[in-house]
Symmetry: C2
Subunit: 272 residues, 2 copies
């Protein structure tokens, strides 16, 4: 018997609504993501299946991806069964950052391209190479700062730095963020992003469109797991056809520069 | 008195046509580029003027850019006066590679964006992060291989590697390129591209849309200058607004991977 519940800390992506299945978690650390009925669902299953068994993926890179446990029918609907990335935390702060200035893949239809292009232009994707899709910064006594998606999408470079500083502060709602968690979070995050970057400079297996970097950490709580970087959302991964994923890599390098600038602002100079 | 002539080795860009001014060179190593009458002309002058005097540009990075000698009226038309990059060579092989999967800048008009997007999709820009805009590989006894622009634009990853191998072969027209110049050219080219990359990972001054990397070398000739990488075409450079140029950097990293793959195929493994 599965004991399933709605996840508490999802900051972006599809959620359960009237008549629509949302993601679920069980108490053994698994995350059940409803398969989208169109090609996105089957594409994501294809990606996880092929990624799981691909001998070319280095061990250190695998750890950035949720573990794949196959698919399963829950409440009469197909689900991807994945590692619940949040199960290691009791009260995580989390942000979802969609990487790449372009969220559409070359073979997409004109309609799909136009839809994505408009979102990319309206958000910070075109200007910064990424957009913050969701963010939750836990505060004292169960308060939290969870800015609205619309606010997050149109951020300038300076806005992004302020949001990042609030993300690693004891109270995200404060006007002058204290950044007390900056080193504890962004030093390991920077290290992990640079590890990912190294792989993206050479890998010609996949191109990851509309894929997100998740950053997770815990301010206080029984479990107190460290800050980690994970990759999620692979409904638009395509074959690399012999080239590196320059779109993802460019956005990743931009994010790295922002993280190191925020760290430098708090701690002094950071060497990349 | 200026002794001006039409440059012999231009492989891409605007050329003189009936009623249209083309670029000129003099015998003192200067290149006269006609100013486009629309905002592109003034934008390129603005770029060169601001770049020349910007103290934030490191010395090693300056050497990738043509020296700027101001503007001048020649044949009743305004010209940019630049260093003639080809004057160091007697019979150069040269390629012009437009960097970036996106050639339009965020503030462009919808019409301009649509025009650029169509070219980016039709060419290899979207898939590879760059497109080869022109190429001339000098052969024996004044022959040369100069593929048509149309042929170059729709190259796959494998095609690009073949074209690159032909570029560093004694006869680009041969079906099986001998790659005899591969190390002599691509070892220093790779070193220079990696130097550029290092700067693009941190610089938040300019975004270079529709800008090209030129690769120049000489197979034989009295002057026998070494292989160099230069940047040209700055009519679409815009203010970085606090973010790195993720679009250029992504394309540059893709080009670096291709160059090192070609070198590895000829010489064995190359460490980046």
């Amino acid at each position: 018997m599965l004991n399933l519940s709605v996840p508490e800390n999802q900051v972006a992506g599809h959620k359960a609504k009237e008549g629509v299945n949302g993601p679920l978690v069980d108490d053994s650390g698994k995350f059940y993501k409803p398969l989208q009925s169109d090609e996105r669902g089957s594409n994501e299953v294809t990606f996880y299946t092929s990624f799981s068994s691909d001998p070319r993926i280095p061990h250190n890179i695998r750890s950035f991806f949720p573990i794949f446990h196959g698919t399963s029918v829950v409440n009469a609907a197909d689900h991807l069964v994945l590692e619940d990335l949040l199960s290691a935390y009791s009260n995580p702060s989390v942000t979802d950052i969609k990487i790449g200035s372009r969220t559409w893949y070359p073979e997409a239809s004109d309609d799909y391209i136009n839809k994505c292009l408009q979102k990319d232009r309206e958000s910070s994707s075109i200007s910064l190479g990424f957009r913050i899709s969701g963010l939750k910064s836990v505060g004292a006594s169960n308060s939290c700062w969870q800015p609205h998606k619309k606010f997050l999408q149109s951020l300038s470079a300076e806005d992004v730095k302020l949001v990042m500083r609030k993300f690693v502060s004891s109270d995200g709602n404060a006007d002058n963020p204290d950044c007390v968690f900056a080193s504890e979070v962004f030093v390991p995050v920077l290290k992990q992003l640079l590890e990912l970057k190294k792989w993206f400079e050479v890998q010609t297996i996949f191109h990851f469109y509309s894929c997100s970097v998740l950053v997770l950490y815990e301010k206080e709580g029984k479990k107190r797991a460290g800050a980690v970087v994970k990759l999620v959302d692979f409904a638009h991964v395509v074959d690399a056809k012999g080239a590196i994923d320059h779109n993802f890599l460019g956005g990743l390098c931009s994010l790295i520069k922002f993280v190191s600038d925020v760290l430098a602002g708090v701690d002094g100079k950071v060497e990349l």
